[in-house]
């Protein structure tokens, strides 16, 4: 008798929960952004949210919650520890979020998440001031090799995509540069324009508005970008470096498969919506979709590279 009740209860609970998932989403979905409102990642999340609502259907509501601090670490930790029910998602930045697991004590790892979609791929660029004599890769590498460390590089921070890009470049060319880490890319870009540093490493979106003030020496992609197809890639100039800043969305580890599938479909449909890429590019987010397991593989690849760099040349 007792066993029967228990079984019935268990059946009831199972039925109840699975039906709850079948109707996902039945309450508001929160996207945790690890940065303050108005930053690049925040704008991405706010641009994506209405498209997610549209393609999840059923009157879904998606709200953005800012949990700023420690360059995104506080927010992403909250996502890692949240209940994997599909109602807490978070933004995810590469290589930053993986680099933090190396250079700090982090309460999460690459395995703490269910990977949904990487949406933004903002490739690295090298720029110099407009009146600089260095305006091609060959001249740059020649100058850097002539006097190792004489070429100063302005960039946003250590352990970010700018920094890892420079490491890749140093590996590929054998040249040595002096890193000047500014507090954010805008001050670094101003220092390049004012001639206070010899060159700068940024992301494509950060220099699109400054084409007349800067020489853009190269783009770290396999093929030219449709946003500025006059910028040559490094590969074209004989340098094999591909790198960039990636921004996407994750959920806590252990997300039920049906919920995951529903979200992946919604991301895919949003990405295919021409309005979506228009809105994203306008807010400075060059789009490139990497879904589900591919995104997971991408994260591990980024982690492995950051780890290798950290072990050979730690940045602190």
């Amino acid at each position: 008798m007792k066993l029967k009740t228990l079984l019935a209860a268990a059946c009831f609970v199972t039925a109840f929960t699975s039906s709850a998932f079948a109707q996902y989403p039945e309450k508001k979905i929160e996207i945790i952004v690890g940065y303050a409102a108005g930053g690049g990642t925040d704008v991405m999340a706010r641009t994506v949210a209405p498209f997610l609502e549209r393609y999840l259907g059923d009157g879904a509501t998606v709200v953005v919650k800012n949990v700023p601090g420690a360059s995104g670490q506080i927010g992403v930790t909250e996502v890692a520890k949240a209940k994997p029910d599909g109602y807490t998602l978070g933004t995810f930045n590469l290589p930053g979020m993986m680099a933090r697991t190396l250079d700090r004590n982090a309460a999460y790892s690459a395995d703490s998440f269910t990977y949904l979609a990487n949406v933004v791929d903002d490739p690295n660029v090298i720029v110099t001031a407009k009146d600089s004599e260095i305006d091609t890769m060959d001249k740059l590498i020649k100058a850097a090799k002539a006097d190792p460390g004489a070429v100063t590089v302005g960039m946003s921070s250590l352990g970010g995509d700018d920094h890892l890009f420079l490491v890749r470049l140093q590996e590929d060319t054998g040249a040595q540069f002096t890193i000047a880490p500014f507090k954010g890319s805008a001050p670094a870009r101003t220092a390049v324009m004012g001639g206070h540093v010899a060159m700068g490493i940024f992301n494509l979106s950060e220099i699109l508005g400054f084409r007349d003030e800067l020489n853009v020496i190269g783009l770290a992609t396999k093929e030219r970008s449709s946003l500025a197809d006059d910028i040559p890639t490094f590969a074209e100039q004989g340098y094999n470096v591909v790198n960039g800043s990636l921004r996407g969305f994750v959920a806590p580890k252990g997300l039920p498969d049906d919920v995951r599938q529903k979200l992946l479909d919604a991301f895919k449909k949003a990405y295919d919506d021409p309005e979506f890429s228009k809105a994203m590019v306008a807010s400075g987010n060059p789009v490139n979709l990497t879904l589900g397991d591919d995104f997971k593989a991408l994260t591990h690849e980024q982690y492995d590279f950051a780890k290798k760099v950290w072990e050979t040349t730690p940045w602190k």
Partner: protein, 504 residues
């Protein structure tokens, strides 16, 4: 370019856009006047809501809030000696003594007129001189910014108060607080004790309300038996139009402080508080009666309030043209632009002239509106607050402070931190340690250090690179001229009179 400016005008004069500026200024005055709430916070709270609004309406609100808050901060600074915003610290020096001697109403009128003048000058500079001034910003690399910070730090000398040792201890405390967080050059964590919340450093609002707002609030509770504060604070407000003629003698201060405010505004990373401190010092140095300053000199209020509004629109110059905000408020405003798909940079002026130039007009209207909205109406309504019984007023301030601090990052950690600083501030108050050096130390300590180390890194550890270029040399010369010379002169004069008296 100037035709663009005129083309943008009709759109700004539309009722929705004008109304947004009015709402912004009013909200800004309130936010500024409430201790713990700042313009930075108000705008960052607003940004998500503006997502669906017309860009000019959103921008108008932000411009209004910025202008309004920079004046609003003066209201509690004058009435309660609690600066409503970080930039209003220097306003307490003379504003509060004026209120105690029954001239609080006049102090607030001086503040509102000076704020409006600073804001108007700044807006006009933004409209007419943005591109050339952006070139000035480019002259300032890490080495040059380091010297500006040194200039600011050396003005601490004038803020030490009666006991220089206590003053220096205060300044050292401020500098120590400023180095908490992640060191950008090496990536090491400093004084964070493993707390992620401390990695980004300590927000100035947390320190400011801890030191400045909690001790007076506790004092209100401690001495609850005293009468309501109304008798002491006889505001004595007349019409603002009658008060203005009495202020015309401040024109030199208005001019000087506007220039200082605008210049500090275009330097990335400095901000309203530094502008107010510097301009207060300069005005006092130029005054005929420097010994009266700090005891209720209206011109002191004028100096501080002009400067902290004069850096509002000018801080948008590097923000709009280069993407580097001149102040923390300008930094959040950039976020507000980005959310409307407006990327800062030269292209912005080409692609969206109506918006950019409309935004500039809104700054001008915001500054002018201050006189009407911040005049006797706002001043008198805030003065009513002082009629509240002392325990209630104290409790309200404490509640507001906690709400404000919590909402910066949405976490209790900051509230606990504020309580800690409140305790420190309480004892500093009792032991008569001056507070302004702490604020200046916090603002400029890590700012100087960061830029020094960045400059040395770029110069490959060759110290001489710090003073090899003209801009640095000019700033060093100004620092020596303004700070060191008067001190040396004073010492020489003191010796001479010593010799003279001993010779007799």
């Amino acid at each position: 370019m100037y035709s663009n400016l005129l083309d943008a005008l009709p759109q700004v004069l539309g009722w929705a856009n004008l109304l947004s500026v009015v709402i912004g200024v009013t909200a800004g005055i309130c936010v500024g006047a409430l201790p713990g709430l700042s313009a930075t916070m108000a705008i960052s709270v607003l940004i998500p809501f503006t997502f669906g609004l017309d860009p000019l309406v959103a921008l108008g609100m932000m411009a209004g809030i910025y202008n309004g808050a920079m004046y609003g901060g003066a209201i509690p600074a004058v009435l309660l000696r609690i600066p409503g915003t970080p930039a209003a610290v220097a306003t307490t020096f003379d504003g509060y003594p004026m209120a105690q001697s029954g001239r609080g109403g006049f102090a607030l009128q001086v503040a509102v007129v000076s704020s409006a003048i600073g804001g108007i000058v700044s807006a006009i500079v933004l409209m007419l001189l943005a591109p050339p001034l952006a070139q000035v910003t480019l002259l300032f690399g890490p080495a040059e910014i380091f010297w500006v910070a040194v200039f600011g730090l050396s003005s601490i000398v004038f803020l030490l108060g009666g006991d220089p040792i206590k003053g220096l201890i205060s300044a050292a405390f401020g500098v120590t607080v400023s180095i908490v967080g992640l060191d950008t050059i090496t990536g090491y964590e400093r004084l964070t004790f493993g707390h992620l919340e401390l990695l980004d450093g300590i927000n100035i609002v947390v320190l400011l309300v801890g030191l400045y707002a909690l001790p007076p609030a506790i004092d209100l509770l401690e001495n609850a038996h005293l009468e309501a504060t109304t008798d002491k604070f006889n505001l004595g407000t007349g019409s603002i139009w009658k008060a203005i003629p009495q202020m015309l003698g401040f024109w030199k201060t208005w001019l000087r402080s506007s220039v200082i405010g605008v210049l500090i505004g275009i330097l990335p990373g400095a901000g309203g508080s530094m502008a107010a401190f510097l301009s207060y010092n300069e005005a006092r140095r130029a005054a005929k009666n420097p010994s009266e300053w700090g005891k209720g000199e209206p011109e002191g209020v004028a100096a501080s309030e002009t400067a902290n509004n004069a850096d509002t629109a000018s801080a948008m110059i590097p923000a709009l043209t280069l993407g580097v905000p001149g102040t923390s408020v300008a930094a959040v405003m950039l976020g507000g632009l980005l959310i409307h798909g407006l990327q800062p940079g030269p292209m912005l002026f080409r692609d969206n002239p109506d918006l950019v130039f409309g935004f500039m007009w809104q700054f001008l209207f915001g500054a002018i509106l201050l006189i009407f909205l911040g005049g006797s109406l706002a001043t008198n309504s805030f003065a009513q607050v002082l009629r509240l019984p002392r325990p209630m007023l104290g409790a309200i301030i404490i509640a507001l402070v906690f709400i404000g601090v919590y909402s910066i990052n949405g976490r209790m950690f900051d509230v606990y931190l504020t309580l800690g600083f409140g305790l420190v501030g309480y004892f500093m108050d009792k032991l008569r340690f001056p507070l302004p050096p702490v604020v200046l130390g916090l603002i400029l300590g890590s700012f100087a250090e960061e830029n020094l180390r960045l400059a040395l890194r770029i110069g490959r550890n060759d110290w001489s690179t710090l003073w090899q270029n003209t801009t640095s040399q000019i700033i060093i010369a100004i620092t020596v001229g303004v700070i060191v010379c008067p001190l040396v002169m004073r010492v020489i004069r003191a010796r001479k009179s010593d010799n003279a008296s001993s010779g007799q």
